[in-house]
Amino acid sequence: MSNIDLSVNIGSLKLRNPIMLASGTVGYGNEISEFSDLNKLGAIVTKSLSLKPRKGNPPQRIVETPAGMLNAIGLANVGVDVFLKEKIPFLKQFDVPLICNIAASSVEEYVECTRNLTSEETIKAFEINVSCPNVKEGGLQFGNDVNAVANVTAKVRAVTNKPLIIKLSPNVSYISEFAKVVKDEGGDAVSAINTLVGTSFNIFTKKPKIFNVNGGLSGPAIKPIALAKVLEISRKVDIPIIGIGGIMNWQDVVEFMIVGASAVQIGTLNFIDPTAPEKIIKQLEDYCIASNVEKLSNLTASYIL
């Protein structure tokens, strides 16, 4: 046993290490548990949950792009009630912090979802997906409107005492302005970044490859953008950041931590190698030993400009 301390804190949420599995890339835990010991992970974030079940978009939902992929799943999920009844019992058996990601089409729905979930003790924190259309305001995404993000943060904050993380959209000019309102309205942390809006067309049929036309770009293609967004937030706002975007190996984790992340989420990589997160944790420990880093969290925002 080494004396390396891999633990990190996200506000009051203490994780045994900084490796979290990103929403939408781990389902509700059951499939990935066949490949990986969930108890070794820092945390897992559920697929976005909405108040009612959602069927999601018709096919085609995904397409591969250079060093990345586009997805437009359409927030397919079982809904809060089925989640509590059928998915929580499975997740309960693990000793890994469970973070519920919530998607909604109105502020009221975000609030109601959170209120219905917050008394479930297995759930240790909430992550709010604000990259959803605000149906009452003409379908513009909450995440692109700083006032809407402030409003969602404040209203959800009012109904839960659990750590509240807002997952920020990168499809904005200054992401730090969004992180600032999250902090001002009582949010505990931000995760950055959600996927970037992209599309891909078939040059012979002249039609989009994805039914939804646009999809969210993820994978190593977006890592430099994600790093720049994390750095921007880190320099401007004093709030814990969970770095997300194209992490493929332990070096990427270290890079995200250096530019300001307290923890990270692994997403697209889970589709390719669901055993990778566990390996990365071991490699981070090896890195700490080799580099004389006693406490991994000391890396956070250790950048030298």
Binding site: G27, K47, R61, P220, M248, I272
Partner: protein
């Protein structure tokens, strides 16, 4: 399901642009069922990023066989793998064909590369069932009959066999088909599967189809491969986990 690194034994070009790769993988060979698939990582780099799904073509002893054509960068890399090169395989995935049952006659209907799963199907049922294999394509270069038995061919352009599509060829056999003792197994393009579904429902023929879809993970977490169910409007089935083989009555193709 698990991930293994298995060595290539040989890569054969069996037809214009069609390759069969023999891989020594006792772990997979001992448990995989016909119609299941494998998700193969062709490169350790980020390009191509995602795994490629391939249905199991055949199993012989400790070796497994994959059949593919070169469609893009992934299959181009795969086709160049030499003896001893390791292939990163995730599987076995999905539900395969249900070959058990009282039926006496199996009709295999394959379109283009849809022939891929049938060498293993043929190997398993050839001693217990009568097999008729109908293989179709646009033209003679699309016809793949590797590992199949009692084959009849159709081509859209008439360059080989029956001039027409493979469902029309099946229709020609209708008078000789006893739907109580016959089961149809099919794989091919969606247009073929749609026509086959209409035909089988009209003639009350039991039919299982192997479907395909773009997908990322292959085991249910990405939710990237929905297929419409005929019985539940509220929820899509997933090609990777609920399929890829479905009873034709259960899905909208």
């Amino acid at each position: 399901m698990f991930i293994v690194n298995s060595p290539v034994v040989e890569t054969l070009q069996v037809h214009e642009n069609i390759f069969i790769q023999k891989i020594h993988s006792p772990e997979i060979a001992s448990i995989i069922k016909p119609g299941q698939f494998l998700n193969v990582r062709v490169s350790v780099n980020s390009f191509p990023l995602l795994r490629r799904p391939f249905s199991i073509c055949d199993v012989n002893g400790e070796n497994i066989f994959l059949m593919f054509n070169i469609l893009g960068e992934g299959t181009k890399i795969l086709a160049k793998k030499q003896k001893g090169d390791l292939i990163d395989i995730l599987g076995p995935l999905g539900n395969g064909f249900n070959l058990e049952g009282e039926y006496k006659n199996a009709i295999i209907v394959a379109g283009g590369l849809g022939s891929a799963p049938f060498p293993l199907v043929t190997r398993i049922i050839k001693n217990s069932k009568n097999i008729l294999s109908l293989v179709g394509g646009r033209s003679t270069q699309d016809i793949i009959t590797y590992g199949m038995q009692n084959v009849q061919v159709s081509t859209d352009d008439g360059s080989q066999g029956f001039n027409g599509n493979v469902v029309q060829l099946l229709e020609k056999h209708l008078a000789n088909i006893d739907n109580k003792t016959t089961k149809v197994f099919a794989c091919g393009p969606n247009a073929m599967l749609r026509a086959l579904k209409d035909f089988c429902i009209k003639n009350n023929l039991d039919c299982e189809v192997s479907t395909e879809s773009a997908m990322a993970c292959g085991f249910g977490i990405c939710q990237g491969c929905p297929i419409e169910s005929t019985t539940n409007d509220d929820k899509y089935l997933l090609v990777c986990k609920d399929g890829p083989v479905f009873n034709v009555k259960d899905v909208v193709i």
